[in-house]
């Protein structure tokens, strides 16, 4: 196995706060890697830097063998690095189908094509079926439940056929059935070859799904290993409970 994503010496300060502090980690191709840590440990900041939403003060990000430090987020997306957000960000006025088509990863010259071409529809409908949203294809995303929006956001970032998907708290605020649904989709897509990096607070979900797990504290990884070891590691317990 080789690393599809490596983060090397990443540092980011906001004012006087070091949100990320020479953070180094790697995500192996084909894995479902978990990224956990107490609140404020820098997980989302790491996500934002990897996906080009924030610029790091120092350090490098390599994705699929290329240095992508500071690349534009849209460009990364078109090259196969997708992410979702904590708050299930979809476009409420657009229909479910349009939400998917909008995420098709089009270059600007492709924008002069029809709003939804038959090819778009075929491509989107496959995902709608997979995620059980087919009946809602023409409903504005505003009318979906929160859990359905999370599914839609997940489905949408798969439109670009990504190699690596970063999920930011995929199960936050959704009911138990939806958590299981989410897990099923992640597993299915992982089996189909997509690598995942998941930030999550729901520990049972992480322990079930992720291997390895990286624990972040005060902006740097303090542990990386299989779930069983995380639970018994003193450093991790200290980070969560205080020493």
């Amino acid at each position: 196995m080789s690393a599809i994503l490596t983060v090397d010496g990443l540092t980011k300060t906001f004012g006087g706060v070091r949100a990320v502090d020479s953070c180094t980690l790697a995500v192996q191709e084909g894995s479902i890697t978990g990224l956990i840590g107490p609140n404020g440990s820098g997980k989302t900041t790491v996500f934002n830097i990897i996906t080009g939403y924030l610029r790091a003060d120092a350090g490098a990000v390599r994705f699929a063998g290329r240095d992508v430090t500071g690349h534009d987020t849209g460009r990364l997306y078109r090259h196969g690095l997708s992410r979702t957000f904590q708050q299930a960000r979809v476009f409420p006025p657009l229909t479910v189908l349009e939400n998917l088509v909008a995420a098709g990863g089009y270059s600007w010259w492709q924008l002069f094509r029809r709003r939804i071409t038959p090819a778009d529809r075929t491509r989107a409908e496959r995902l709608l079926d997979e995620f059980g949203l087919a009946a809602m294809a023409d409903v504005p995303a505003a009318e979906l439940s929160y859990g359905q929006r999370k599914l839609l956001e997940f489905a949408a970032v798969l439109m670009s056929e990504p190699r690596l998907v970063l999920l930011d708290e995929p199960t936050a605020g959704v009911n138990g059935v939806m958590v299981d649904t989410m897990e099923r989709h992640v597993r299915a897509r992982n089996a189909a070859g997509i690598t995942f990096l998941i930030v999550e607070h729901d520990m049972t979900f992480v322990m079930r799904l992720c291997d390895p797990i990286v624990v972040l504290d005060a902006g740097r990884p303090i542990f990386s290993g299989p779930p069983a070891e995380v639970q018994s590691n003193d450093l991790v317990l200290d980070a969560y409970l205080g020493s």
Partner: protein, 329 residues
């Protein structure tokens, strides 16, 4: 698909309207209604579809006026149609100036964007008063006098504006049916998210801005030729910006017909009230009253509110899939 019927009927009516021997003051008013309809429709491309409330559009109206003025300074025209043929060049000048302005100002959003663009408007206003070599300063700039017969003097301007309106509405219609419209909707709903899923946000919003201000510049050119004289205080006038923003809000943002409806109501209302209430400034109060009343009862603009009500009535009669606002209105 209803707009495919509505459009030709509307433009058919516009084309035959002057043939009914309307009085000059009516035609003059229609010319101004059309100017504002084109500008509102153009503003809607960026202010409505992209959700970027530009307050700088009057600057491009002025830029278009002075561009045409400069092209024809000290010249005479024979047929009188030459300035119209140069309008695409005027539009291109407006769009080319708009491009870098958009690249810079669209790094900001919402209220900050509004302030940045209105600052640009004031810069252009100052330039209009002070670049004597181009604008003639406060003395103004004379354009050639068109040789059109007095009986049908307004008609050439009227028809050119109808043509520009069809271009503006055609672009709106086309945008809504292409991925440009989808991308603009995504930008309006959540721009950061749109960026993250590979929507070329900068490209699409800068394009919308440039096309929008290019059209606005062309209207400025028509206006300058219609007046035959450009005074800086009327060519670069913040009231123009305010009018087109109000018209678009009134009729309904991000709809095809809203800006045209808004321009029709506000411009005729303003002209009528100015006539009824004489030279006093009272008409401005009445004008504001109309606007406030409509906004009170139809807060999202006339068309979106009516379409929504119609939809609710229909769906309570027979549950049907909701028609999309953008395409229905």
């Amino acid at each position: 698909m209803k707009s495919l019927v509505r459009g030709p009927v509307f433009f058919g009516l516009l084309i035959v309207l002057p043939l009914f021997g309307l009085q000059h003051w009516v035609l003059n008013m229609l010319v101004f209604v059309l100017m504002f309809a084109v500008m509102s429709s153009a503003w809607n491309l960026v202010g409505g579809l992209a959700g970027y409330p530009s307050l700088g559009h009057a600057a491009f109206f002025g830029i278009g006026a002075y561009a045409l003025g400069s092209l024809f300074k000290g010249q005479t025209v024979s047929s009188g149609y030459e300035p119209f043929l140069w309008l695409p060049v005027v539009g291109l000048i407006g769009a080319l100036i708009g491009w870098p302005i958009a690249v810079i100002s669209m790094r900001t959003r919402a209220d900050v964007f509004a302030i940045v663009t209105i600052t640009f408007l004031f810069v252009v206003q100052t330039l209009a008063f002070n670049l004597h070599g181009i604008t003639g300063g406060a003395q103004g700039l004379a354009l050639p006098i068109p040789p059109f017969p007095a009986a049908t003097f307004e008609q050439p301007y009227y028809y050119v504006l109808v043509l520009l309106l069809s271009v503006a509405m055609g672009l709106t219609f086309g945008a809504a049916r292409s991925k440009v419209g989808l991308a603009l909707s995504a930008v309006r709903a959540d721009e950061d998210k749109a960026r993250g899923i590979g929507v070329p946000t900068t490209g699409v919003k800068v394009l919308a801005f440039s096309v929008s201000v290019g059209l606005t510049a062309m209207v400025g050119g028509v206006w300058a030729y219609y007046q035959s004289f450009i005074y800086p205080q009327f060519a670069v006038d913040p009231l123009i910006t305010i009018a087109i923003v109000l018209m678009t809000f009134l009729g309904g943002r991000a709809t095809l017909w809203g800006p045209i409806l808004g321009a029709g109501i506000l411009e005729t209302g303003q002209q009528y009230l100015a006539y009824e209430l004489g030279g006093s400034q009272f008409y401005l109060i009445a004008y504001a009253m109309i606007f406030l009343l409509i906004m009170l009862f139809l807060p999202r603009g006339i068309l979106p509110t009516l379409v929504e009500r119609l939809r609710r009535r229909r769906s309570s009669a027979a549950p049907a899939p909701a028609p999309r606002m953008e395409t229905a209105a």
